[in-house]
C-alpha cells in the first residue's frame, strides 16, 4: 500500500488547543449576554470547531475528492431539510384556534 498522508504530531496539538480555546470562547460569549446574536454566534463557533475536527482529526483535508463529495452531499441534504422546514414555519398564516 502506498504511504498515506500522516498529519504531524504538532498539528494535532495545535488543533486540540484551538478546540479548547474555542470552547472557552463559547462560554465567554455566553457570559457577555449577546441577546438575539447569542444563538448565531454560538452556532458559528461550533461550526468552526466542527470544521477543525472534520479537516484534521477526521483527515478530510487530505482525503480524496470522493469522500469530500460524500460528506458534502450529507450537508446539502441537511440544508434542504432545514431550508424547507424553515420555509414551512415562516410562511404559516397565524390564526387563533376556535376551540
Amino acid at each position: 500500500m502506498s504511504q498515506h498522508h500522516v498529519i504531524p504530531f504538532k498539528t494535532y496539538m495545535k488543533v486540540a488547543a484551538a478546540l479548547v480555546a474555542l470552547t472557552f470562547l463559547t462560554v465567554i460569549c455566553h457570559e457577555l449576554h449577546l441577546g438575539p446574536l447569542a444563538g448565531p454566534v454560538a452556532f458559528l463557533i461550533a461550526a468552526v470547531k466542527a470544521a477543525l475536527v472534520l479537516l484534521y482529526f477526521m483527515h478530510l483535508k487530505y482525503d480524496n475528492m470522493q469522500n469530500r463529495v460524500i460528506f458534502g452531499s450529507g450537508l446539502i441534504f441537511l440544508l434542504l431539510l432545514i431550508g424547507f422546514s424553515a420555509l414551512d414555519i415562516w410562511t404559516r398564516v397565524q390564526s387563533m384556534s376556535t376551540l
Partner: protein, 218 residues
Amino acid sequence: MTTNVSHGEHHHSHHFDSAEHEYSSDKEGLWLFMVTEILMFGGLFVAYAIFHSIYPEMFSEGASHLDWRMGFINTLVLITSSLTMALGIFYNQQNQPKKAFWNLIATILLGCCFLVIKYLEYSGKFHHGIYPGRFLDMAVVNPVHQNLGLYFGLYFCMTGLHGIHVVIGMSLIGWVAVRTYKGHFNSHYYTPVEGVGIFWHIVDLIWIFLFPLLYLVG
C-alpha cells in the same frame, strides 16, 4: 497468495485489486455511514430549531435547569478524547503500537469520564422531577411554561442518542485497542483504527453542537 510472510501482516481481501483499493473502499463506506449519522442527528437538530423558534422563552427556561459547567467540562473531556483517538491512529501510522495502545486506552477512560458526568446530570434531573415530554412532573418542577416537557423531550433524545453513540464508540475503541496490543496494525495497515476514529470524532462533532444549543442558548 504470496508465501513467506511474517506473522500479523495484513492481506487485502481477494475481491480488491490492491491494499490501496481496499483502504479507499473501506473509507468510502465509512463516510457514507457518517452521512447517515449526520442526517439522523440532523433531524433532531431541525426539530430543535423549529420548536426553539416557536417557543423561545420556554427553551430559555429549559436551559436554565441545566448546569452549563457540566456541559463545558464534558466538551473539554470529549475534545481531549478526540486528540488521544487521533494520536492512537498517528502512533499506529508510526509503527509505535505501545503508544497507540495507551492513547486508545486513554480515549476509553475519557469516554467513561463523559458518561459518569452525564449520569450525574441525568440522575439530578430525575431527582428534580424532570423527565421527557408528558412524564415531566408538573407538581415538582412547577414550570412557568406548561410545555417544558417538550424541551426536555429534545434534551433527553439528543443527549441520550449521543450517549448510546459514546458507549458504542468506546466498545469499538476497545476492540481496536486489543488488536493494536496484539500487533495487528502497522504503517501499512491500520484501517479499523482509522474507521473507529472517524466514528469517534463524529460523536465529538455532534457534542460540539449539542453543548451550546442545549446548555447555553436554550
